[in-house]
Symmetry: C2
Subunit: 388 residues, 2 copies
Amino acid sequence: MTLNLTRRLMLTGAMGTSIAGASACVSSVGSTTQAAAEGAFPPAPAIDPYLLGPKEGVALLSRNENPYGPAKSARDMIEYAASKGAYYTSFEAQVMLTEMIAEKNNVSPEQVVVTTGSGEVLSAIALIYGPKGPIVAPRLFWDTTALYAVNLRMANIERVPLAADMSVDLSTIEAKVTPETGLVQLCNPNNPTGMVSDAATLKAAVKRMASKTTVLVDEAYIELSDDPEGNSCVPLINAGHDVIVTRTFSKIYGMAGVRVGYSISSAETAEKIRATAMSWSPSLSIAAAIGCYNDEKFLAMSRSKIQEARDMVNTTIDTLGLTRLPSQTNFVYFKSGKEANAVQEAMMKKKISVRGQYMDYNEWTRVSMGTIADVERFCKALPEVLGA
Amino acid sequence: MTLNLTRRLMLTGAMGTSIAGASACVSSVGSTTQAAAEGAFPPAPAIDPYLLGPKEGVALLSRNENPYGPAKSARDMIEYAASKGAYYTSFEAQVMLTEMIAEKNNVSPEQVVVTTGSGEVLSAIALIYGPKGPIVAPRLFWDTTALYAVNLRMANIERVPLAADMSVDLSTIEAKVTPETGLVQLCNPNNPTGMVSDAATLKAAVKRMASKTTVLVDEAYIELSDDPEGNSCVPLINAGHDVIVTRTFSKIYGMAGVRVGYSISSAETAEKIRATAMSWSPSLSIAAAIGCYNDEKFLAMSRSKIQEARDMVNTTIDTLGLTRLPSQTNFVYFKSGKEANAVQEAMMKKKISVRGQYMDYNEWTRVSMGTIADVERFCKALPEVLGA
């Protein structure tokens, strides 16, 4: 039952990410206590110390999160919010974060919608535009939120094959777009490929498509790309194009468990999105985002560590003579030449968690940048697992 | 602009609650710093210390939250989760909380859906059942989430006048219900009246109505009622009736800013709700809920303090010879005989925040139980404000 529920939560709730050992973890509740609580009230129940993080000894390289997060600036604010009065939903804090995001992106606060993770804002967008017509998207993209709407029979996805180099085939996508298209959905950088579209080509294509329908660009990993500002489609919005950009605190900010994401669009579109989003965000989470949003030192440190890890992975893959895609993210997609699910299983035997197969890309593996130590283990394990 | 956005967030985002001084609060950012941060990274930005709680000197008696929360058992878990790896979305933690709720309520985990506050699960329910037919509900109830679906043109509300004593008029509601009814939505205890329906009468009516359509009972305040177990409609679910019960950690648990709520229903209904809910919950929030869910000492202390405050308020109202409703919650709805919005304004001049007018109940005021000190201020202010 636990296993079934875990699977169902994973399928319906979220990332569609496989979590190694999830059910085993749940059944070992009570093995260790948290730091002893003092005061008049009893301590919190004993819980598995790995319930809220990777299991002991497991290199978690299957999820595209920043292992150095959340920043101290975020954790300080969480503590502050919890002590100060997290019993109140704080619209004031939400307004403050909205204004900070607006200022940094040269838009007005009315154009920004903050939600409980970008999963929520993306799901809301899928619900708004899905009923209008097909969601046109590259064959491989982060499709969880579009599938949310498909599952509710509120949308259909029209997938366009990737180009030969596995980049997003913008010209073929553009050729599919008509005024009857519900939404064009792109990820830049894309997931699981990690590839960034050429900025000039992308922006020109987005402008033309946006004259026919709404274009959504999910920029979840943009802060990790070589030129975040140059790559972003945000400037197209104030130039009057029908474009929505989404971003998240789950990736470079390392706050996937804190859940803050946002969209930037026209004020009119933002109003629709705001009305459709379903939850209101924890003040704890909003406070954390306020704390770290402009923490440039944390972001620079994270970028540098992720780059270092990616260089290690790239070198290992290149040394083995394997094909890999040019990643500008914290994950690398490479063609191992072996069944992806078999590679995943063999890695798991070494307590290294990587992603399994995507669609019919059966010989491709996605590995995410964890800590340097965890990535070292992957680099050492890869030739062994591949029998190289 | 700030003000407009604040208003819009309040209208679309959530509780429809008026927050005194919200915009003033936002514009005073930077007045005080949080506890100094140490370490390699810069401290979090200076924020208004009241951004995440009531403004200094304001008795916040306009929101039905427990001022003694979150419990230490919850705060400990927030800290633990933030230190342990809140960068991971934790399905394992969500499964654990789901199992805890299931166990306490004698249902299976498949019957429980945990969301980011009960606002989300109630909104999802409104989206599922609204398109089927009208949502039949008492004239006064917590209608925010039904209105969410109305606003999206996914539902209509059919409001049934309250009985002469302002209780929910179950027999008139029942007479309206047909198989074409989308949903019957009740709050027990009701908001803003604070009244509990007679348990036997309620359960009998719910059973009969549930033979025609789905009946939702929002039990946000049930833990504050005199007989939580006896009043709850949860037992009807496993007896095979088409009933959904929702609960929240926002009220007695004092976690409105942490956002955890849940529904209990048949497993089949739960699957639909789970598929429709839009966000996935912060692991911080889930951890907090795990921490305090069975913290009976905190719950008993809270109940006792709220009861003490309510007795004070009741005595004050009775002494003034005013009509009040018999509340089994942490708020009291009373007929001041003066314009509700004028009472609200006069109270605000004394830095006491109470609710303004509901619908056309223009001489009724809702006051929530804050700390004893804050409630004392209300009791002292009331005769002055009413010119009694």
